[in-house]
Amino acid sequence: MDVGQRLTDQNFPESPEKATLEGKNKFLGFWLFLGGETVLFATLFGTYLGLRNSFGKGPEASEIFQLPIVFIATMILLTSSLTSVYAVLALKENRVKAMRGWFFVTLLLGVAFLGLEIYEFVHYVHEGHTFTSGAFGSAFYTLVGFHGGHVLFGVLWIAALLVRNSGRGLTLYNSPKYYLFALYWHFVDVVWVFIFTVVYLMGKVG
């Protein structure tokens, strides 16, 4: 079968994202990439933990963190992970419209998260907690900013995928692309769970 050919319900394989060697390679390669990303964020977390009480000229963490807004951001991101799961379930059953719909909701939630994060950062800067106000500020914005950068990249990625494949069904060529985005999105979400715990909760009470 030609990899660019639209899949029908009759010839739909069990896992279209792993039905070709290219798909298998991408699947494994992306998992390995996420392994590397884990080290990347682990290094950032380690640095943050080493510097989280070195406020320099800036305010202390417990003074400035606003848990309500961070909680809303957390809920938005967790929900977006759920919607991407629905999208992948639809992908596995060749329900293209449902899959694209759920991915679109994921995209919107990602944008909402980014909006809240920008609002939060602007607020902190007004409070005197900046990138250069102390080691804590540098470590905070680098860790949380790297995560935000990952969210932004994910948003651009899924937007490009949705636009490119509008009007096209699932093929053995584009199924791995959708699937890998979902993997990436879950990873970004898991990192946020750690940020919420290590940065915000420990910042408030630790």
């Binding site: 990439f33 990303e37 080290v39 290094t43 640095t47 080493g50 102390g134 080691a135 490119r164 060529y173």
Partner: protein, 619 residues
């Protein structure tokens, strides 16, 4: 796109867009070889300055720059790419694959490395090279004036991204693309070491990526990670650097172990002794490599408990390494050894590397390390393992695989001159440095006073460096002579044992006409012993799927190169630098977008064309 279509383009265009692992291997070899010569020249300048007491040939800041660039160039721009050259040239062939898992990424990885290396070396022409040592310890690196360290950070960041891609690529290639019958425990040892090295790259390089970002933010955006006045902590850099840096030395040495294992077995006409122990030792070294980083930091003051744990873990690495040394010796034992140049380099490697290992265990003893630390003893140690280990291994690999990569055989007479001058020169250079260190000569100083009595050993060391230079020049002459003669050899000039020797010369661009069936370790040797002409095919002749060439990796890397230049000058050049940053990253993102947007299904070489090309082969 058909094959004939691609052939219409110019040679230059072909090399810029190639995704063929064999060509990318050659690109890595040529650029890595070039940077090796540059790094070697820098080493020679250092040795000339140190030839006698109170010399003024190369002093002060310029000495620091040459010293920093020597280490940085040799590790990141010479050793790593030459290792990748062999991995590209050999691994897909050894496992019976038609290419790597991600040919596009392979090309991207090369061009990122290349542009990163060019960016780093541009610093020589743009106001001065980095001068904070290859380890770039903060706060020395954060305080260093000028743009030198900025070039270091951005250049290595770009080339490091390429290395990470290469690592992932080879992991997936080896896991997913082995020929039928090629189980993990039938893989040639070079493929095994390439596999473990790729795993180390995957888990070590991201730490360095973050380290570079932190250093970049401190220098360029006034962050405070390493600034104690603002609550920062310079020790964090040391930890991050060595969490990467120690696995890095195993990333370098493991492929050399693999090369030695192939060469020694081939030229002893024997199966490698203790194959499964060798595999286990390789994996164990890779694992322990992550557990020992703080032995670079014994004198920082982490406390006796931390120092003891790291000392013991470090000494433990001597055990799997010892297993390897004995296995090589037992492989040669009772073999019909042929001392070709490749084998000479391998045999020379064994005692030399043992000497480096012995000083390694000495340095691992934390209390004694307080005496050795930052002295020439350390310099002698790591040159014994990296030059005496890795570089001898790479020379061995070059002489061994040259016929496979280029279709011609390097001249053996010149090769032996190459070996003996380089080998004797090496020991002459670095053996005296052990004693210089014990006599109290600190590393990285640009001179020493006459009354310290360090002159004669330093003089001997410099003479040795000239010997190594002569060896390298003979090697370059050998390449020129060999290609000028251009005598083609057969596909199996050494009577090889593994799959890379199962193809005609030159290697067809699709590698194997039919994927071979592997029936055991040393797959080709088994067929030879069974009286077969070549490998037994695992499939009938059919259409072969090939990836399309692409210029995107080149343009994408160029984009990041431009962005890197912009970041370096963002605080001094203002608007033009900002435009470079935005434009460069924009080029990179647009290339990524195009890669996603354009459907790229590759092309097929049809069965009829294959049959025409390979007349007389049974379908």
């Amino acid at each position: 796109m058909s094959n004939a279509h691609a052939a219409n383009k110019s040679v230059l265009w072909d090399w810029l867009t190639t995704v063929d692992h064999k060509k990318i291997g050659i690109l890595y070899l040529i650029s890595g070889g070039f940077f090796f010569l540059v790094g070697g020249l820098e080493a020679l300048l250092i040795r000339i300055q140190l030839m006698g007491p109170e010399m003024t040939f190369l002093t002060g800041d310029l000495y620091n720059q040459v010293l920093t660039m020597h280490g940085t160039t040799m590790i990141f721009l010479a050793a790593m790419p030459i290792i990748f050259a062999f991995m590209n040239a050999v691994v897909p062939l050894q496992i019976g694959a038609r290419d790597v898992a991600f040919p596009f990424l392979n090309s991207l990885g090369f061009w990122l490395f290349f542009f990163g290396g060019v960016l780093l070396n541009l610093s020589w022409f743009l106001g001065g090279a980095p001068d904070a040592g290859w380890t770039a310890y903060a706060p020395l690196s954060t305080q260093s004036s000028g743009h030198g360290v900025d070039f270091y950070v951005l250049g290595l960041q770009i080339s490091g991204a390429g290395t990470l891609m290469g690592g992932i690529n080879f992991l997936v290639t080896i896991i997913n693309m082995r020929a039928p019958g090629m189980t993990f425990m039938r893989m040639p040892l070079f493929t095994w070491t390439a596999f473990v090295t790729s795993g180390l790259i995957l888990f070590a390089f991201p730490a360095l990526t973050i380290g570079f970002f932190l250093l970049m933010f401190d220098r360029i955006f006034e962050a405070n990670f390493f600034d104690a006045n603002m609550g920062g902590n310079a020790i964090i850099w040391e930890h991050i650097f060595w969490i990467f840096g120690h696995p890095e030395v195993y990333i370098l040495i493991l492929p050399a172990f693999g090369i030695i294992s192939e060469v020694v077995a081939t030229f002893a006409k024997k199966r490698l002794f203790g194959y499964s122990a060798m595999v286990f030792a390789t994996v164990l070294i890779g694992f322990l490599g992550f557990m020992v980083w703080a032995h670079h930091m014994f004198t920082v003051g982490l406390g006796p408990v931390a120092n003891s744990i790291f000392a013991v873990a470090t000494m433990a690495i001597a055990i799997p390494t010892g297993v390897k040394i004995f296995n090589w010796i037992f492989t040669m034992w009772g073999g019909r050894n042929r001392f070709t140049t490749a084998n000479l380099f391998s045999v020379g490697f064994i005692p030399t590397f043992v000497m480096g290992g012995v000083t390694g265990v000495m340095l691992a003893a934390a209390p004694a390390d307080y005496q050795y630390h930052d002295s020439y003893f350390v310099v002698a140690h790591f040159h014994y393992v990296i030059v005496g280990g890795l570089i001898l291994g790479l020379f061995s690999g070059l002489y061994y695989w040259y016929p496979r990569m280029f279709g011609v055989m390097l001249n053996e007479t010149l090769g032996k001159w190459n070996f003996w001058t380089f080998f004797i020169g090496f020991h002459l250079t670095f053996f005296p440095q052990h004693f210089l260190g014990l006599m109290g000569m600190p590393r990285r100083y640009f001179t020493y006073p006459e009354e310290f009595q360090l002159g004669s050993l330093n003089f001997i060391s410099t003479i040795g460096a000239i010997g190594m230079t002569v060896g390298t020049i003979i090697f370059v002459i050998n390449i020129i002579v060999t290609h000028a003669k251009g005598e083609k050899v057969s596909g199996d000039p050494w009577d090889g044992r593994t799959l890379e020797w199962a193809m005609p010369n030159p290697t067809p661009h699709y590698n194997f006409l039919q994927t071979p069936l592997v029936r055991g370790l040393d797959a080709l040797w088994i067929e030879k012993m069974a009286g077969n002409k070549g490998m037994t095919p695992a499939e009938p002749i059919g259409d072969i799927h090939m990836p399309n060439n692409s210029i995107l990796p080149f343009v994408m890397s160029l984009g990041f190169f431009i962005a890197g230049l912009g970041f370096i000058y963002i605080n001094t050049a203002g608007l033009p630098a900002l435009i470079a940053v935005i434009g460069g990253i924009g080029i990179g993102l647009v290339c990524m977008f195009l890669r996603s947007w354009i459907d790229d299904h590759g092309y097929h070489i049809h069965k009829e064309d294959l049959l025409k090309e390979n007349k007389g082969v049974d379908a």
